[in-house]
Amino acid sequence: MSEWVKVADAGDVAEGEINSYTVGSRTIAVANVDGDLQALDDTCTHQGCSLSEGDLDGTIVECPCHGGRYDVMTGEVVGGPPPEPVDVFDVLEEDGELRVRTRDDD
């Protein structure tokens, strides 16, 4: 069963920033695009670097290692070397908590 997991207090990700959180065996990145939160797998599909250590520019996050670019809204690759998109997840702020929901098979 998938369930919502608290990863931080609400407001932990400032506008224009991207942070990462450990949820079970995965690391999830949460980006704040103009006040809207987006959650995606933090691990670049190219060489496994942490996307949240890169910069967020609008909806695009750029991997700090080799320049892979993903759209945080969809997880799709928009440029650079990554061969595959990353998974995206549900995320919300509620009752003062930042919560992420991974899927059943995670």
Partner: protein, 405 residues
């Protein structure tokens, strides 16, 4: 429309990927003279050479080409472009007609006429097979001699030290990478390698390789004799321009305008082989991984009619031991350098300026600032020295507004 891409390296593979991603559904042929599908070369001097990665890292998985209806012709050499007939001739005589041709033939290692270069045990490094041969030779060896300490030489030195070999390098300049980084930043690279036990001999050249059928020693111009089990030449590359016929101008590369077009209609060039008229830097021929991909992406849009200048500020990285070096922009000369962090501690960003304009940023174990410099370099910004020197100042706050460029 029929598009032919000549060259099965990263740039060519990025171009075919971007053409399909942009919705191009015409005939698409990729011609490569290697037998492997296009793969990434950076690991060849790093993880692949050290044996940590056992398979070449393919740009697209092999089935992708068939799925995307790309006619992948491996082990095939294009011999001549006949631009006026819009035809590429292949070795063996086949003629491939095109509406647009993208030349992405890359570069090959320079092989200066040094006596003994043909001896067994003397290598250079360009393709996966070269890395395989060096790895195999290194496995039974205790001592390697390297000629040249550019990025390839420096990375190979680090990888061979990691494998436990003694490493000596002969380099004509006074520090590694002096032409690219200058003496001060090159000195930081020298100290890194010194701390890892590399013997560096500066201000000297390879005179000849000695050995009875097989490499035994390098003799230098100054008369040193450096014995070793294998030797690796890393003295730069030259563009592979032979395909360009008389209708396409060739200088130090295939000459293209800001939009990656040659003067011949329908003929473009990208990647290592392209001598590109960059809107900021002027004519440059640059051998970076990231630029190869981005030029592949850009040429796809231009083949489909976008006609956009390629204005990326350009960026690359080099991993040596546990240190990561990054560089953005392009500068052959600078009259000012501002540093945040510490060169001595090898954790810094160095900003290279000419007449107050930021031209290039070099970082060593210093995250983000090489890439954050790119919008400033592309805009030919004149950031204040005090701001550049302040590690607490986020360079993004200096970026020009998006719509201004």
């Amino acid at each position: 429309m029929d598009v032919v891409v000549v060259g099965g390296g990263l740039a060519g593979a990025a171009a075919v990927g971007a053409l399909r991603a942009e919705g191009f559904d015409g005939c698409l042929i990729l011609i490569g003279d290697e037998t492997l599908p296009p793969y990434e070369r950076p690991p060849l001097s790093k993880g692949y050479l050290r044996g940590e990665e056992t398979e070449p890292h393919l740009v697209h998985p092999e089935p992708w080409y068939a799925e995307q209806d790309v006619d992948l012709r491996l082990g095939t050499r294009a011999s001549r472009l006949v631009a006026s007939e819009r035809v590429v001739e292949l070795e063996g005589g086949e003629r491939v007609a095109f509406d647009a041709a993208i030349l992405a033939t890359g570069s090959r290692p320079r092989r200066p006429p040094i006596p003994g270069l043909e001896l067994e045990g003397v290598f250079d490094l360009r393709v996966a097979g070269d890395a395989d041969r060096i790895k195999a030779a290194a496995a039974g060896s205790s001592r390697a001699v390297l000629i040249g300490m550019g990025f390839i030489g420096a990375e190979v030195a680090a990888s061979l030290r990691h494998l436990g070999l003694d490493v000596s390098v002969v380099e004509p300049f006074s520090v590694p990478l002096e032409r690219v980084l200058g003496p001060i930043l090159g000195g930081a690279i020298a100290s890194l390698h010194r701390d890892h036990g590399v013997e560096m001999i500066f201000g000297d050249l390879a005179e000849r390789f000695d050995g009875a059928g097989r490499f035994e020693a390098l003799v230098t111009r100054a008369g040193r004799r450096i014995e070793g089990d294998l030797a690796i030449l890393g003295v730069g590359v030259e563009p592979v321009t032979e395909i360009a016929g008389p209708e396409v101008e060739v200088g130090n590369g295939i000459v293209v305008d800001e939009t990656l077009r040659t003067a011949a209609p329908g003929v473009f060039a990208i990647g290592d082989v392209a001598l590109h008229d960059h809107p900021v830097f002027g004519p440059v021929r640059v051998e970076h991984f990231d630029k190869a991909i981005k030029q592949g992406e850009a040429v796809a849009r231009n083949v489909l009619g976008a006609d956009e200048p390629f204005a990326d500020a350009m960026w690359f990285w080099s991993d040596q031991y546990d240190s990561e070096i990054q560089m953005s922009g392009y500068a052959t000369a600078w009259d000012d350098m501002v540093v945040r962090g510490s060169i001595e501690e090898r954790s810094f960003a160095a900003f290279l300026l000419q007449d107050g304009v930021l031209r290039s940023t070099v970082t060593m174990d210093w995250k983000l600032d090489a890439r954050r410099s790119m919008p400033l370099i592309a805009a030919e910004a004149r950031p204040e020295r005090e701001l550049l020197a302040d590690p607490g100042l986020d360079l993004r706050t200096l970026h020009p507004p998006k719509d201004a460029t």
